[in-house]
Amino acid sequence: MIEVKNIEKSFGDSKVLKGISTVFESGKTNLIIGQSGSGKTVLLKTLLGIHAPDSGTIEFDGRVYSDLDKDEKRELRTEIGMVFQGSALFDSMTVAENVAFPLRMFTSDDRAKIKERVDFVLERVNLVDAHKKLPSEISGGMQKRVAIARAIVNNPKYLFCDEPNSGLDPNTSTLIDNLIQEITEEYNITTVINTHDMNSVMEIGQNIVFLKKGLKAWQGTKEEIFRTENKDIVKFVYSSNLFKKVREAYLKG
């Protein structure tokens, strides 16, 4: 579980996060949604420790991030898996080497054990024939799956995903969403996903945090999002006719 308490973050005169407090639960897919410029990415990067908050605290299962020393922070980061928007795979490494990287860096496992684990996670993300390919030789959807495999290979406690569906076709998007949800539930991971893909919200939104202008404007589940009367979220989620009709159908039962 990740508990965020009153986080504030400014860049120069611009205050991006204005006192956000929320809880991201373990074993659930926690989604951060909001318009561009609402502070989603800054919140995610603050959770990851890439940005230091100006005030407020972030607790990883009771461990206050700002109270940890440099080594403890690095140690904590080995418990984190991250799927970047552009996958961020290492260009010079093959798919298998990318996935094996965290194991080579942080475990004393021998080659055979690492290979066994890499084979297992690549099979788990339905990539059995791509071991020796370079990231440039596979499609965007496959790159995302490799990034997920790399993020989970070390059995992380926390999984962060930044726009995991951006640039993917609807089929692959659904595949990635389902994969993330299955992995989250299977390994009881605290998963935080930054997205503005409404399909993902409807598909896997077990705990949704809606940001508006740096403030938490709403929080709830995908079922609650159908019934909410909150004007901001209704305007944001149901901006397309398709989702308006989905909502009407849901409310009619």
Binding site: R74, R77, I80, G86, A88, L89, M105
Partner: protein, 247 residues
């Protein structure tokens, strides 16, 4: 403006400190060092050999053409070529060229990793990205004096060929000149400079790549800025070291 430069210098020294913190596991580091030796040292040999051989030849020809007084002995062509190549051409001129070749490679490869979030990925995993990316380059460039040694040899060899076979002096005169008044400390001086330049070549381009902001266009700009600053630092350190060691 001055404060901005000073802050950059401070940031550079903090980066140097961080490079030596929390070392990457040796089996991983070993493969990174070998890869950097291949990319930075072995891949540079071709261009270094080509330039050294021909510039050595040109130095010999230029010297010969300027020695118009018949009272000046021809062996001075060999002497001047040796001194020019060992003292300045091989360590300094080649390093400035390497600031363009190795430097732009280092800045663009690290800068691209920054733009594509690969450095963020390393940091999020708990890897000391500066140690992972820059330390192997520093170790690989400890072999840089080997490149400069080859450059010295080929520069003098090119001078000898141009001089002897171009009809500017006899082979014997050139070889006598190349051995005349030889001071072994000049070699030491050249290699001390080379090691300092190697450190600059590994770290200044890394600094510009690591701390760059923006997209693909900025990677190109960072490479150019890195080349300018690496060259400026090499020239400045060349002056300081010459004053300290020979002055």
């Amino acid at each position: 403006m001055l404060i901005r430069y000073l802050s950059q210098v401070g940031k550079y020294f903090l980066m140097l400190k961080e490079i030596f913190n929390k070392q990457t596991k040796w089996p991983v580091m070993k493969s990174l060092i070998l890869k950097e030796i291949d990319d930075l040292i072995i891949d540079s040999l071709g261009i270094v050999c080509f330039i050294s051989f021909f510039i050595g030849g040109v130095v010999a020809i230029q010297t010969a053409l300027n020695l118009t007084n018949p009272l000046i002995p021809k062996y001075l062509i060999g002497f001047a070529t040796r001194q020019s190549v060992i003292l300045e051409f091989a360590p300094t001129f080649i390093s400035v060229i390497m600031a363009g070749k190795m430097g732009s490679y280092i800045t663009s490869s690290i800068g691209t990793m920054r733009v594509t979030e690969q450095i963020d990925a390393l940091e999020v995993m708990g890897v000391n990205s500066l140690n992972y990316l820059v330390f192997p380059k520093i170790i690989a460039l400890l072999m840089y004096p080997f490149v400069i040694g080859i450059s010295m040899f080929l520069g003098i060899f090119g001078g000898w060929l141009a001089s002897a076979y171009g009809g500017f002096s006899t082979s014997q005169d050139f070889i006598s000149g190349a051995q005349w008044e030889f001071i072994p400390f000049h070699i030491t001086y050249a290699f001390i400079k080379t090691l300092i330049f190697a450190m600059l070549l590994a770290t200044i381009p890394s600094f510009h790549g690591y701390y760059m902001k923006g997209g693909a266009l900025e990677v190109g700009k960072a490479s150019t800025v890195s080349f300018v600053w690496t060259s400026v630092c090499i020239i400045l350190f060349n002056y300081i070291l010459t004053q300290l060691l020979l002055g």
